[in-house]
Symmetry: C2
Subunit: 245 residues, 2 copies
């Protein structure tokens, strides 16, 4: 296996509109930046979105496991590295690293993808020609990643209408908006006094334009458990671990 | 006057999260990109935000006059040019151009800035040392730019809570979020079937975290008149001119 061929990296300058009141990059923006590296990696080996759509398929993210050492600051130039780590008949696993100029790792993310049959709206077997170019490892083993915990008692709740700006050219809500809905509900006081260290987010059901996403959270010390619902339907779960600032 | 010294330009790659369902860059993102060029221009001549704040002052935008020929597309690399055009005792005027690789102008913007005394929260006279480095022209003439028209009959109305992600390190709502509030209220059907050609937006009063921005619009053929209110207080006005797609 040619390890070099598997890895892709690109630089990103964090600019003022990527940052929040803390002067640090927002979590949604951090994940946006990593997903861009994944798209650019795919384009660079010829597995374009167009090609995937041409087969009647689409990549769907089912889980992100994010670990943050330090969030990038305004004007910082970071390097995003990514690698299609491995796949089995139904899941693809991709790793991301965000590195500072001095080489220290600012954040890591492990992401689980599945392939969706666009017409049947059902998960389908991984198509070898879509993963071969990444030279990722085939394994029969299905990962047993920890799952987020649903909130038991709701500490805070807020409704977010899906905006026109939230939908992409496939009429889907960019996964990243779930981060904003989940974190905003915690309120400025909590968000200014705490630093996110880990986030485990699992996508269950797509939210569509015109719907209202209800974001609910249980704050339990330095752990927060989140869910996004559309009516009574569960759309997304997440568990976050924080430290005091 | 050294014309070269006055101009600043930088490149920007439009990426998937800058674009909307149309595959084109969002209006808020377009203005974000131009404002970044303005910040980078200011930094390059030593008029940093830190220096301005150190004098107890802050730049405040009072009006943008935006003209769009064509919106940048996903993955397009554009050049943003900007120039501090002129100033008089109370106003600074800045021009922006967004250019395609072949040199054609995709969008233009004319922006009016004032200086705010941070303690008194009042507009103050332009401080020469903050404008001299741009080599912009001093003029006694105050521009008489057309003003947006307030909506007379409300066609649509929607409330937007200010999110934690909307506020910057000065605890202000980034001006760009007003674009999202003003345009989203038009609805997907209108936004997909029309192309924005001109937008004249005037900022009256800041919206703060925790407040609810009520976005109201009057749709009158290919002209839309917008206002943002917080309770009964007028925060922002805009008039847009559209063409059918």
């Amino acid at each position: 296996v040619d390890q070099v061929a598997q890895e892709f990296s690109e630089q990103h300058r964090v600019v003022y509109y990527d940052t929040e009141v803390t002067g640090e990059m927002g979590i949604g923006k951090l994940v946006d930046m990593m997903m861009l590296a994944s798209e650019d990696h795919s384009d660079s080996v010829g597995v374009t979105t167009k090609k995937v759509l041409g087969l009647g398929l689409g990549w769907v993210i089912t889980q992100h496991l994010l670990t943050i050492n330090r969030l990038p600051k305004n004007n910082e130039v970071v390097t995003v590295k990514t690698k299609a780590a491995s796949y089995n008949p139904y899941f693809c696993y991709r790793d991301f690293w965000v590195k500072a100029a001095d080489g220290t790792t600012l954040a890591k993310m492990h992401t689980v993808f599945v392939l969706m049959d666009q017409e049947k709206r059902k998960i389908t077997r991984i198509v070898p020609e879509l993963v071969a170019p990444f030279e990722s490892e085939f394994t029969k083993k299905i990962e047993r990643n920890p799952l987020p915990k649903a909130p038991q008692t709701i500490t805070a709740r807020h409704d977010y209408g899906v905006r026109f700006m939230d939908i992409d050219s496939n009429h889907h809500v960019n996964n990243v908006h779930y981060f904003d809905w989940m974190l905003d509900v915690l309120g400025a006081d909590f968000l200014i006094k705490h630093r996110l260290k880990e986030m485990n987010i699992q996508y269950k059901q797509e939210v569509r334009y015109g719907q209202v996403a209800t974001s609910e959270v249980e704050i339990s010390g330095l752990t927060t458990n989140h869910q996004i619902k559309v009516g009574s339907e569960l759309s997304c779960l997440a568990t976050c671990r924080w430290e005091e600032r």
